[in-house]
Symmetry: C3
Amino acid sequence: MPHICKIFNILASVVGFIMSEILKIKIPGQGLHMITSKIADVVSNSEVANGLCTIFVRHTSASLIIQENADPSARKDLENWLNRLVQENDPLYTHTLEGPDDMPAHIKSALTASSLSIPIMQGRLSLGTWQGIYLWEHRHAGGIRDVIVHVA
Amino acid sequence: MPHICKIFNILASVVGFIMSEILKIKIPGQGLHMITSKIADVVSNSEVANGLCTIFVRHTSASLIIQENADPSARKDLENWLNRLVQENDPLYTHTLEGPDDMPAHIKSALTASSLSIPIMQGRLSLGTWQGIYLWEHRHAGGIRDVIVHVA
Amino acid sequence: MPHICKIFNILASVVGFIMSEILKIKIPGQGLHMITSKIADVVSNSEVANGLCTIFVRHTSASLIIQENADPSARKDLENWLNRLVQENDPLYTHTLEGPDDMPAHIKSALTASSLSIPIMQGRLSLGTWQGIYLWEHRHAGGIRDVIVHVA
């Protein structure tokens, strides 16, 4: 592959129309945590007017989801419903060394999204009126989760 | 960030190798509605030969899905199966003000996709032979749904 | 749309900062098959330093998933759990001509991902330490599956 490729890519990264940022997000515990404004800030700083924002979670026991941003009861019901579907201490599990919430977390992560892409129009995430972006933590314990935001 | 970034991005949008279009899709009611040809038209109009088409639904009670495009019985079974898994009037729900189909719609949306990306090769969506793109409406009532198609 | 668009896109494909490759992956049968190194090879060959890698599966009875790459018991439990949720020979199915594993395969495909996007940073897939990329085959019989890797 010609060197012009590498040169273009480095140039593109430097001038900013391709950029990625790793966000370190502090999570208090299991549940849906709104991250819309953190993602919007990266998009705003990129100064990209028309493009695509892709979000990626670097874990297999947390996921990304777009949900209702208005009534918290919708998110609570969603979480309770999934907790009932994917139960802890299921006799089916053999992967139990990391605690009763570990295998359910992997299953929940498989049923939801590891990456999400949202078009950028006129410099802003083109979310619908009722859409918020959430990091869904599936383990009980809190901690730091890495989310990468790519804008191009 | 240097101004060259903004200039490049505006230029890129103008000459057309980054473009987004909002489709207003009229939906008669709950179910899977094929949108393959609408998406293919946007790709074709963009004149992008090699790239990526990303589709995003701006709602939390509808989703995007790639499914069998041949036999309608597969889509009907899929819908019936999900309706049995995610039932209306589940006593678990507290978010009930917007009707019995609202909370199931949010859950179904969480279990399926809000965004999908399909490579463009030789000017066309590189779908497999049996793949169709569907907008999956989870509410009973029909209406207009916004789907954004981003091509780059 | 001006011709400069087409010219730029062709140029971009030739010099390599937009590229797609179709991988033909031989699958022995139902289950999660690790494809991380195959995807990493495409990224490495593209020489893209900062960008986005999007993976797309061209089938409706197989899907893509990011899961724990360390302990195989996690993947086995995940598969067994989904096999219990989405059973063969469910009396609900009417789409049965292609065998008892066909309709469950379509449902499993709907509940998981057809496309995945992973940022590329410093020339590498920016996966978390415990993340592996898997092609999840939902049919019993093995065969060749097409996965497209797009790098930009």
